[in-house]
Amino acid sequence: MDTTLLITEAKARFNHNSAKTYLKDKYDSKFIVADQSGLWRANLETINFLNSSTDEQVILIDTFNNPVKVNRTSLLYKLADTYKNVMEEWHNEWADLEKKR
């Protein structure tokens, strides 16, 4: 099906709010990382905590609310990398959608 024609003939309007919600849903799930027997969210709070600590091992509460002892640098590397890549993808897709009318 030619979706461009479909949109034109149906006089359909691009719904920016729904698109924004969809993108948030899509990319939220990509921040989730399973590592060192815990499940983590690559968010600024966790990354900043790991970055500011100097200990080799730290104990963190994972997304299942379990305290997990982790190797700090290894987890920091993984979460920071995930955060950067996902945000970049999200931003690119968002910028594309912003152009639609």
Binding site: S29, I32, E93
Partner: protein
């Protein structure tokens, strides 16, 4: 350690679930790189098969379930544990459109059983979460289940069989209508029973199940067999008039509730 996907497909007078399973299996092979085992009956299996499943398990369909649009052969999902030839299994509905490798993440979760408890509807951002009834629990979803061959997972599926066999009794307790058996409801009750009337966080897939729901249709943006870009069109009713609205999505798995729409998508 073996991994694979299990699909159940029993053709009804209205829908060809075998055809849906073939299309879904091809996408599973392509995006997840996993083999697919099909559970079906001899009536659904065509003489000439265009696709070779990893295994085909023949089992009689339980034809005792009805829905508003006709007969619905969805019972017997509890047999998944017994039928799966894999150590780690993804049990999917045949109308689940795989567009990414996201489901592989479920195998990394520190659990032996998980499914969705939260849904999002494309173009319906404020849709409420479904509950068994207003007095009961949020529904878990049987659309995507990951399980490993453990005692606990086996107990959940055994319990699902028990709930299916006594569905009316549980409907009376929880205040929902028992006329149509739903695996989602059965699963919700079975997991709670096995887990001591709780739902552990570990049993929940940590992202939403995305539905293409009521008044919404998805269309492929390209004719590629493994297309991952779609236009999702929504009929927005406002003061007795329909206003068409759309968004575009890509590389996103979704569950198509409207079977006609799913058939259109796989035949485009």
């Amino acid at each position: 350690m073996t991994r694979g996907v299990l699909l159940f497909a029993f053709n009804s007078p209205k829908y060809n679930y075998y055809e849906m399973a073939v299309a879904t299996a091809k996408r599973i092979n392509h995006f997840l790189g996993l083999p697919v085992t099909l559970v079906t009956d001899s009536e659904s299996l065509p003489v000439k098969q265009s696709y070779e499943f990893d295994n085909v398990i023949l089992a009689p369909a339980d034809k005792s379930n009805r829905r508003d649009w006709g007969v619905w052969y969805n019972k017997g999902r509890y047999r998944a544990y017994q039928f799966s030839p894999y150590d780690e299994t993804l049990l999917l509905d045949t109308d689940y459109m795989v567009n990414s490798d996201k489901l592989l993440k479920t195998f990394d979760l520190p659990t032996d059983f998980c499914c969705h408890d939260t849904t999002s509807f494309l173009m319906h951002p404020k849709a409420a979460q479904e509950m068994l009834s207003v007095y009961s629990f949020n529904t878990l979803w049987a659309t995507v289940i990951m399980f490993k061959k453990t005692k606990r997972a086996e107990q959940i599926f055994n319990c699902l069989e028990m709930v299916q066999n006594n569905f009316e009794h549980y409907a009376n307790i929880h205040g929902f209508i028992a006329a149509t058996f739903r695996n989602d409801y059965g699963l919700t009750l079975a997991t709670r029973i096995v887990n001591g009337q709780t739902t552990p966080n570990e049993d929940i897939i940590p992202w939403n199940l995305l539905h293409v729901g009521k008044n919404t249709s998805a269309y492929s943006n390209t004719k590629d067999e493994f297309n991952t870009e779609y236009t999702v069109m929504f009929d927005n009713w406002n003061r007795g008039k329909i206003r068409k609205e759309y968004i575009t999505i890509k590389d996103t798995d979704f569950h198509v509730m409207n079977k006609e729409n799913f058939m259109e998508l796989i035949s485009e």
